[in-house]
Symmetry: C2
Subunit: 246 residues, 2 copies
Amino acid sequence: MKKTRTTPSDLSATIAKNIRDAIVSGALIVDERLPSEADLSEQFNVSRPTVREALKRLAAQSLIRTQRGATGGAFVNHISFQDAYPQQITTSTLLLSMNDVSFETACEARFALERACAPLSAQRRSADHLATMRTEIFRQSQPGLSDEAWCASDVSFHRALVDGAANPVLSYQLAGAIEAIEPLMNMITFTARSRAEIIALHTEIADGLEDQAPDKVDGALIALETYTRQLAKDVFSRQKSAKTTT
Amino acid sequence: MKKTRTTPSDLSATIAKNIRDAIVSGALIVDERLPSEADLSEQFNVSRPTVREALKRLAAQSLIRTQRGATGGAFVNHISFQDAYPQQITTSTLLLSMNDVSFETACEARFALERACAPLSAQRRSADHLATMRTEIFRQSQPGLSDEAWCASDVSFHRALVDGAANPVLSYQLAGAIEAIEPLMNMITFTARSRAEIIALHTEIADGLEDQAPDKVDGALIALETYTRQLAKDVFSRQKSAKTTT
DNA sequence: AAAGAACAATTGTAAGACAAATGAAAAAAA
DNA sequence: TTTTTTTCATTTGTCTTACAATTGTTCTTT
């Protein structure tokens, strides 16, 4: 071994970490302008392309934004919950698809989190949230609704429930769980019969929230979870038997 | 306007999105090798530095890893929950610090999520989880414990609770919530008196889990939330009065 | 004084070069 | 023949230089 090699021979990663730490620790505050790429390359003793690679890493995490022109540069980004949603969803989706998470596990997590929101939502939900849920229930009852549209409506319904809790931290956390699991849900809610059952439970949930009756909502969510898991079990066993007969 | 300008004049972002979509959609599978940077720059008709900026964006999201050498290149990464934790925590931390999330809101979310895990944990917690919790409680009872060590121990305790639910999706979601809120918690748990109270509640939680008594755990968590919020209120009002007298 | 033109600063992109790593193939030695 | 060494080709990591595009500022002209 020639050198101690504390650096992982990846300057752009090192520089990115350096700047990221400065942002997280508060040394760089929101909307503050970073030194220009030329200045940074001098400070860190690297070339401009290397600095740029580091900045792109940070941009990928929405930590900075860049602007061209005379007064341009890289600025510390204000990360809103809105901005963080897509990243959260992308990561959650990949985590589920790459780690052999069973439907059971994903479903359990999703409903556990959603049930955590329900009491708060029953307490605070606005007329808007209730209206959204009623609208989505109506949409779901339309016979011609495509599977994709059904799923989108289902997501909207449950997001309204979660948003009703009026806690952005919860909404953010739940967004990943609900949206990432939706593709898995797609497979099991395509028959008219299951739709009718789910609509009935959705109605019970909306009623419970309107009446500010957390127990009623909780019961409906438990029923919905049970029903969903039963449907999934049926679908999977049917797939298996179809495979053996072929 | 000269052009339609669908491209935001940010080639590396466009290329990154292109490849990211291929990964998320499953067109590129785990451990598959991407074309070399030279090939990619030909395919996308851009220079190699631009391709590299795109790849660094993906690397920042842990979507790919790169390797030098003859058989090297960029490979689609297998994202484990373990890998995703730090990103989740970084993002959550910044979201809290940048969005004026009140302590009340953060605290409410954290305990709502944790209480969602508690029944599952009471059902499935292993001896290991219980042992970890007992160990941390013991550590917390040591008089000389620094504030930092106390907080770290507190995090370990609650993570053991959450991990006891044996649901990686829940553990992942909670990691962000618990760890990101910890800095806020730091401010309020520094007196011996509050430590003693918290240790008592921790013990109640551990007992409840050991006895597989979810209601007992839930009660203790509610008490802990109430106590924490009361402490926070006291600290803030004291800060305010200190400010006015100065 | 107002409008327009030139200017300067900064990021975005390109091209070419060399260094470093690394596996594979070829050559040499046992 | 088998093992070790050497060479080599491929690929990423980094640097240098250059130019294009954008945009606020300053100067000039009307």
